[in-house]
């Protein structure tokens, strides 16, 4: 079965009423996946044997009516650790790596009896915006298989968009949940920094990384965030802020809501067809009783430069652990310890990962630290202050997610700067640690375009409320893609 006609609420009702068992649901999910995924490549590895056993156990003890996710098949990006299930971060470096513990988010999935079907393809170590940097396979956009799914959580977005699973979990360091959500016409939430534990997420940019859900509907997304949010003693940066029920307050009412539209997000660098979709979304919100006013985020244009310094610096430090000694890839025929390090890293990492390590090492090196790393940290402060100022007067910020819809496979991969510029509208949100969500807003030449909603820290609820009202007022989310959908 595919998941186009069901949401979590209806699936849960069917499971509780025993109209379908968890085992039958898992089997039907794998059957559909085997028919659909060979054309798309959303999954790197499947968990079939363990899943059928887990589903049988869930059926034996009975579906808990209080656990919405019980028996629900989910997919997980392959940089999130799953005990006993190979976790590669789409890198040759970790091709055979089997985690000995679960990420906290995965622990929470298991505690809620969610069923992890398999692991999603991604850009290697989450570095990239097209999933073309995977060491293992190409992932294709289900709306047009000649195009990229976006990235780095491309496999997760495609798995949901093509109806293979109702929920997938990705990670977002500079746009890696929101941009693929936009390219695939699904809902993707990057929660506030600290909202979700990073324990067991293979670290890329530790001051930026967050795990979040991708779903077909806003309500399902809110329910999925309910499952994974909250303080974790294993992640000192996770927050002790109260976690509300994110599905509460989804009533379609945005009357009186004050929405800001940054002029920098609608300038000439944005594809006119994308701009048109966003302009229509603005009209929709106004018709629903919200006010939308133009504001300025003057430092947002410096976000890309600041981000690629900060994220690369953090990455160069985080990726030092891959040394060919305790785990991961070790080069053959090495003659001494230095050789193990240098050759294992040079043969185990792909080009984009090497580029980031080089940029980070350079930015942190003697003589360049002040001009690059420290300066980027100062610009980050200015970007944070821009947002703070806007949020003094507004409830949320609206704009596009990406400057264009999905581009062709192969078109941008040889030009790093063009690829980096795709993140111009998502990066400032990570730098400021704010929640950001992509909601399907329309189409440009048949390709999905997402609307980005940006909120105050720990105010995901307002994004869900606004996203839900918009979704219910349009039929964009009811469209299905070419592969996996329609028939």
């Amino acid at each position: 079965m595919n998941y186009f006609d069901q949401d979590l609420t209806s699936l849960h009702a069917d499971l509780v009423a025993k109209k379908i068992s968890a085992v039958d649901l898992a089997k039907a999910t794998f059957e559909n996946l085997r028919a659909v995924d060979p054309q798309l490549g959303a999954f790197l590895n499947l968990n079939e044997e363990a899943v059928l056993k887990q589903a049988a156990d869930i059926d034996a003890k009975g579906i808990d009516p209080d656990k919405l996710m019980a028996g629900i098949p989910v997919a997980v990006k392959d940089n999130i650790m799953t005990k006993d299930l190979t976790t590669t971060a789409a890198s040759k470096m970790l091709e055979h790596f089997v985690p000995v513990y679960d990420a906290t988010v995965v622990e929470k999935m298991r505690a809620n009896d969610a069923v992890i079907i398999g692991k999603n393809n991604m850009d290697e170590f989450a570095m990239g915006g097209s999933t073309e940097n995977s060491a293992f396979k190409v992932t294709r956009n289900p709306w047009d298989v000649s195009r990229v799914p976006g990235g780095s959580s491309g496999g997760s977005a495609v798995a949901v968009a093509s109806g293979q699973v109702p929920v997938a979990f990705g990670s977002d360091t500079g746009g890696s949940i929101r941009q693929p959500a936009s390219f695939n016409g699904v809902v993707g939430m990057k929660p506030t920094y600290g909202r979700v534990s990073r324990w067991g997420l293979i670290a890329f940019g530790s001051s930026l990384d967050q795990i979040g859900p991708l779903t077909r509907s806003v309500k399902d997304n809110a329910a999925a965030l309910n499952m994974i949010a909250g303080y974790d003693q294993h992640d000192g940066t996770s927050s002790k802020q109260t976690v509300p029920d994110f599905t509460a307050g989804l009533d379609g009412n945005v009357k009186g809501m004050k929405i800001a539209l940054p002029k920098e997000y609608m300038d000439k660098g944005i594809d006119p067809k994308v701009r048109e979709v966003i302009e229509n979304a603005v009209k929709q919100f106004e018709a629903l009783g919200a006010t939308v006013e133009e504001v300025s985020l003057p430092h947002s244009r410096y976000g890309v430069a600041a981000y690629y310094i900060i994220a690369s610096s953090e990455a160069s430090s985080n990726l030092q652990r891959f040394d060919g000694i305790r785990y991961g890839f070790r080069a053959e025929d090495v003659k001494n310890l230095e050789d193990v390090y240098v050759r294992s890293r040079s043969e185990g990492f792909g080009d984009e990962v090497k580029r980031r390590i080089m940029l980070g090492t350079f930015s942190l090196s003697a003589g360049y630290y002040d001009a690059y790393f420290h300066k980027a940290g100062q610009v980050r402060t200015l970007i944070i202050n821009d947002f703070k100022k806007v949020f003094e007067d507004y409830d949320l910020i609206l704009g596009p997610v990406a400057p264009t819809p999905a581009f062709k496979i192969g078109d941008e991969i040889s030009d790093p700067i063009t690829m980096y510029m795709n993140d111009v509208l998502t990066i400032p949100v990570n730098l400021a640690g704010l929640p950001g969500m992509s909601v399907p807003a329309g189409f440009a030449d048949g390709l999905p375009v997402g609307l980005q909603l940006i909120g105050k820290p720990f105010d995901e609820s307002t994004l869900y409320k606004a996203g839900y009202a918009f979704e219910q007022a349009t039929d964009v989310h009811k469209q299905t893609p070419e592969v996996g959908g329609a028939n």
């Binding site: 089997v98 927050s239 785990y327 300066k375 100062q378 610009v379 980050r380």
Partner: protein, 111 residues
Amino acid sequence: MAEERINAEQVQHVAGLAKLEFTADELGTFTGQLEKIIGMFEELSAVDTTDVPATMRLDDDTNRLGQANMRPDKAVKSDEALRQALLKNAPETANGLIKVPAIIDESGDGE
């Protein structure tokens, strides 16, 4: 900032710090790409950051680094099954230990 942002010699030096090596071809490609990306970084020099503090991490009132937010530092008991699982991920083992090549260079080429 310098006229020439980065040259092949500097790229070699940074590669050494990062424990990476490049072929001559790769070195040429990487130098060209890094030159352009670092050029993009230099856009930041146009921003007035006088007296602006740098943000290096994000925290809120509940997770500011300090004693209050640290979990107690105590030993957690491990077991043989975990030890075996960990060793399975090691590229080479001997007698239940992780094996590494000689730390002293035995190639005889004096490097």
